[in-house]
Symmetry: C2
Subunit: 355 residues, 2 copies
């Protein structure tokens, strides 16, 4: 059972897709066929790879194509998925163009892999800030029925793309010397070092950003709750990798902090990092008998957590009848993008749709 796979796009997400395919031993029958807007050699997933300029013939014979690139103003899938499908490939799209298309399933394998059938030629993978949210929300929604979600995000610069990471690195030395920081306004409206910018993607007429509304609409679609009340504030923070989310939840049914912890502990793709710290020195250092462990983006550099959604700071919110607060952390390039895309392909392999 092997698969011929293609990849369109060689940015940070394309890099992580190549990495995930190798690390997870995705059963390729031939090397990943890598395409981008122009032919070149790239280091992808830590290996030197020959990149070919995307053209129709390159999709021939492929079983599955991962889309993680752009063609002009749109995702590469807009131009190339029809060709890939015509060639007989299944397309898994990391881009945003088809996510809300009612004919395209928006898939997080832990939640709704069953929406993918042999007839599904195009599958969309959600936005990074959505994926980590729904992986934690789905099991809680099943247990107690979510009535309302209020989320504030702490999103790293890598979500913008490689140029943003470089922009941050470029700004760091001036920051360090206390000098004015130069800013490329085509990336962020203001210097991101060292500031928090409540501005991700474009503004809509009602004052929300597209990023904020992606969280709303994509979460509803994945959870199959078209009217779930969700409100979001999306904020860019000066962090290279990993998104965090402060989430306030209201439920239909009673749910305690311990019950939620237990449910999340059993949930696929979730690691709960809450409860007493395992480091007794931490209690002593901070003279705090209640010292807790909690996840942060630093945990995402550990092998056991890099593809997981980490949840901590689970607290009862007594301002409403059935309320909880929590803190959700994940790698925006891996589980928030590449890992999810590769997991969709793995799910299709398991179901005999490909391979």
């Amino acid at each position: 059972m092997t698969v011929r796979a293609g990849l369109v796009g060689v940015g940070p997400v394309g890099d992580r897709i190549a990495m995930c395919v190798r690390e997870r031993n995705f059963p390729l029958s031939e090397p990943l066929r890598v395409m981008a807007t122009s032919a070149r050699t790239e280091i992808l997933g830590g290996e030197q790879v020959q990149v070919q300029a995307t053209r129709a013939e390159l999709f021939e014979g492929l079983d599955v194509v991962f889309f993680a690139g752009r063609e002009g103003a749109k995702g590469a899938s807009v131009q190339w998925a029809p060709t890939a499908i015509e060639c007989g490939a299944y397309c898994i799209d990391n881009g945003s163009d088809f996510r809300l298309d009612p004919n395209v399933p928006l898939v997080v394998p832990e939640i709704n892999m069953e929406e993918v059938t042999e007839e599904t030629r195009l599958i969309a993978s959600p936005n990074c800030s959505t994926i980590q949210l729904v992986v934690a929300l789905a099991p809680l929604n099943q247990a107690a029925g979510i009535k309302r979600v209020v989320v504030s995000t702490y999103q790293s610069v890598s979500g913008w793309g490689q140029a943003a990471v470089e922009e941050m690195e470029r700004q760091l030395p001036a920051c360090l010397r206390g000098e004015p920081v130069e800013c490329d306004p085509s990336i962020f409206a203001r210097p991101i070092m060292l500031d928090c910018l409540p501005h991700i993607d474009r503004f809509l007429e009602d004052g929300y950003t597209k990023e904020e509304m992606k969280i709303v609409h994509e979460t509803r679609k994945i959870l199959d709750e078209p009217d779930m009340p969700i409100t979001a504030t999306a904020v860019r923070v000066p962090i290279p990798l990993g998104h965090s989310e402060s989430v306030n939840l209201e439920f239909e049914q009673p749910i305690t902090r311990d019950e939620a912890t237990e449910i999340l502990d059993q949930a696929p793709g979730v690691v709960v990092m809450d409860g007493p710290t395992e480091d007794p020195a931490a209690v002593e250092y901070r003279n705090d008998p209640n010292e807790l462990q909690y996840p942060t983006t630093a945990d995402l550099y550990k092998d056991e957590y890099k593809d997981m959604v980490l949840v901590g700071r689970i607290r009862q919110d007594n301002t409403i009848e059935n309320g909880l607060n929590m803190w959700i952390v994940a790698d925006n390039l891996r589980k928030g993008a590449a890992t999810n895309v590769v997991q969709i392909a793995e799910g299709m392999l398991e179901r005999g749709i490909i391979g």
Copy 2:
């Protein structure tokens, strides 16, 4: 009408108090009498100052004393305010020891200066994250009655103290070189460069931190709404100065985005930075016809904003009947501490309580 004033404490807040007293031309009849745990020379408010070791005689003849220091595990006011009061001085305390004492008013001059009378010998100033929140909340509460508050904070390291700013500066070069960052666990539990830590002050048994509960209890006391439902998540971000807050509000009465903007625009101490950007290039750069302005901590370095509470990203939240989201930014050392303390003294001067 002049005042003899003392200052106990020479950390970042003491420094800013000395600065505010000078910048705001607070009418001193003799130089600020500065005390700390030991005698020394310090640069305070940009000027070299002789610091004396705190002792009872130094409070003699003072009209007002600003407390912004520690004595052992508690604020210096615990040990020295009784002496200062005995000497006839009014005490204004930046520390947390008396904030929730029912006999001590907790004052933000824009909101409840009338609680200070000739009989009030000790006045508490709230926590930084509370002050900026209530300055924006008070006028909205008056207009439409706040039913519930959900707040997530983005708090700079300077709130911890000068050592935290130095810790961050120490960690920056290693960050820049991509090397592991060393961490003094007595300051932050984990390296703050470059991460977000959902952990400010000690944990309580229910999983909330003391910082989160300060926001809850202090806001209720200042707004004189002892049962107002407020839930908070307090997060430390790798920023040197300035706190931001993502705030979700539910109101008793209908209130539109435009009405809230208008009310905040008229409110004392508030600057609304919302609506169309004044930089037409920004619209073009980001190809966004709806491009908005919004405040960030970078604005706090400007003279006209350094003592103000900046509000932006005001949006209708349609997930509830009368809902709004907003983004609130202030300098945690100035309006969040020193400025508020000096403004209280100014208010007492105006009312003829001192001077």
